[in-house]
């Protein structure tokens, strides 16, 4: 079985976005970059499948990113069990929209006959949750999104997908694109010796030209980044008597905020 895991390097969830005023640019220079947390579930799932299947399974980690992304591939993918890595280094794709990303990833994936393509349910920077289903369309294959349980059979898969108020079980044929949700597994941490050894695994760096692809055009453009609407200062309810405070709060919510 050949598995591809598509990963993205994103600012970590503790990142503060500082925007003094609305503007066309977002200052991303001070961000601490990590593997997208949902992609970690994808990497872990691939490694667990390989552990079940043994040597007859190869995992390729794929990313689009600058040299900065090499660390993520090495430490969070190769050092935890991926076998090889492919990175598309194309400065024009920095902050690309999902369809551009999906087209480039699809070009990479078409070069190998992958049975299973795993990725996170969304990246926590642009929160689009688009690349997975787009890949499935571009590759004309099955998809299952926001998956919390995945079972593989002979050329088939069964996935449990999180939906409103429950779960949907999706069954279909391989190849498939599966987007991973928290709960699917518990990602392991890389060990220091494995990080050292990860550097020995094959890593390929490509451009769009290498893929015989023109850089895909964007269909959207962010014109303005703006901070969230400001909130008025918090009104503290006197809390000396909890019961009185609760009554006052209930009154405020009904009569002033009009939300209950």
């Amino acid at each position: 079985m050949k598995i591809a895991v598509c990963v993205k390097q994103v600012p970590d969830s503790e990142t503060r976005i500082t925007l003094a005023a609305p503007g066309p640019e977002l200052d991303r220079s001070g961000f601490t970059r990590v593997l997208n947390p949902y992609d970690a579930f994808a990497v872990e799932e691939a490694v667990r499948i390989k552990e079940r299947l043994g040597a007859d399974c190869e995992i390729t980690a794929v990313t689009i990113g600058s040299d900065r992304a090499v660390e993520t591939l090495k430490k969070d993918c190769l050092a935890v069990g991926c076998d090889r890595a492919i990175r598309v280094n194309e400065p024009a794709l920095e902050n690309a929209e999902p369809l551009q990303t999906a087209k480039v990833l699809a070009a990479v994936l078409r070069r190998g006959a992958y049975d299973l393509i795993l990725t996170g349910k969304q990246a926590i920077d642009d929160d689009s949750a688009q690349v997975g289903p787009m890949l499935a369309e571009l590759l004309d294959c099955s998809q299952a999104t926001v998956v919390t349980k995945l079972e593989l059979g002979e050329g088939v898969f069964t996935a449990t997908c999180e939906i409103e108020g429950g779960a949907a079980v999706v069954r279909g044929s391989l190849p498939a694109v599966v987007t991973c949700q928290k709960g699917l597994n518990e990602p392991r941490l890389p060990s220091l010796p494995n990080i050292m050894k990860a550097g020995m695994k094959p890593q390929e760096t490509l451009t769009c030209a290498d893929l015989g692809l023109e850089i895909p055009a964007a269909r959207t453009r962010v014109t303005t980044y703006s901070p969230p609407p400001p909130r008025a200062a918090c009104r503290m309810v006197a809390a000396d008597d909890p019961a009185a405070a609760a009554r006052e709060l209930a009154r405020l919510l009904r009569d002033e905020a009009k939300v209950i």
Binding site: P11, E97, D127, V169, T220, Y225, P242, A250
Partner: protein, 321 residues
């Protein structure tokens, strides 16, 4: 003059609330710019009968056995056939589990612009869509630079139509599925044993955090939520501790929510939690520590022991009216 198509997602023969929120917002927009609002229904059209009242000018339906169970490929093909035939400038899809599943796939098939989770919709010769990024730490205004766009719309972002629309004439369209068999499909739907209100659709949410001290005390949150007709949420800390399932988590690696009222109980207010709930219309914080960052995000605060305040609040709310 833009024509805006709205996908009407149904559940048990009724349209989802977000569908009518989208027709309403689209109608308010085309009333300024010219153009029409088209409700698009796949499968049983029962839920579309009231589309006109919710702002739609016309209803387009496709029926057939292919829509008996959901799969992303069939929905993609059918809606792509609709877009090819009718050429709307924008197709709105609710940002529900189903909508998020097929909308990007559809956009890829149409080679269209695709914008997720929109909370604002405008047109000045081209569409301008507003959406939160970084789970709401920042907002982006996105200009569509393609002949057609597929946009996801967050539930509860827009109010319903108040203009008293007329009946909308319905006609059918050919979904172009002739013999198509998808690679995968939903074979079973499992509903949680307890009838719970879904976080992302809830108008009121009560969330608990580390201040609850132990897993058993989460029932305080559930009891208050039940009294308020609210959904029960949780901070990442208590999800990671295994007290409640991840489906309850609010925050950057959980659900991003924007209810009318969000009550944060024993939650300190880590940046990743604030990111997931700060677009709520009204935020209440109950926390022993008056310096907790959650109070900076809140509209109303009580700095006191949650074990005293929460039961009292439940009684106070029951005593209203």
């Amino acid at each position: 003059m833009p024509n805006i198509a709205v996908y009407i997602e149904q559940s048990g023969g009724t349209a989802k609330k977000v569908a009518w929120q989208m027709t309403a917002e689209a109608r308010r927009l085309v009333d300024r710019t010219g153009g029409e609002v088209w409700a698009v229904v796949l499968g049983d059209a029962a839920g579309a009968a009231e589309a006109g009242r919710h702002g739609a000018h016309r209803v387009f339906t496709a029926s057939g056995d292919a829509f008996a169970r959901y799969d992303a490929e069939t929905w993609t093909r059918a809606l792509a056939a609709f877009v090819a035939a009718r050429r709307p400038d924008l197709l709105l899809v609710g940002a529900t589990a189903t909508g998020k599943d097929f909308a990007p796939r559809l956009a890829a098939r149409l080679d269209a612009a695709c914008v997720s989770d929109c909370v604002g919709l405008d047109f000045d010769g081209g569409f301008r869509l507003r959406r939160p990024i970084f789970a709401g730490k920042c907002y982006a205004e996105v200009a569509v630079e393609a002949p057609v766009a597929v946009a996801g719309v967050r539930p509860n972002a827009f109010p319903l139509f108040a203009g008293g629309g007329a009946d909308a004439p319905a006609e059918s369209f050919d979904p172009g599925l002739g013999g198509f068999a998808p690679h995968a499909a939903v074979v079973e739907t499992l509903t949680s044993a307890e009838k719970k209100i879904e976080l992302t659709e809830a108008e009121v949410i009560v969330s608990g955090g580390r201040g609850l001290k132990e897993a058993a005390n989460y029932q305080l949150i559930e009891t208050l939520a039940a009294a308020m007709g609210a959904a029960a949420g949780a901070s990442r800390a208590i999800v990671d501790a295994g007290w409640v399932p991840h489906s309850h988590q609010v925050g950057q690696t959980g659900k991003t929510v924007s209810p009318k009222l969000y009550v944060a109980v024993g939650i300190s207010g880590a940046i990743q939690h604030l990111a997931g709930m700060s677009s709520s219309k009204c935020i209440v914080a109950i926390n022993k520590d008056p310096n907790a960052p959650i109070f900076k995000a809140a509209d109303y605060g009580i700095a006191a022991d949650l074990f005293e305040v929460v039961p009292a609040l439940r009684d106070a709310i029951a005593a209203l009216d």
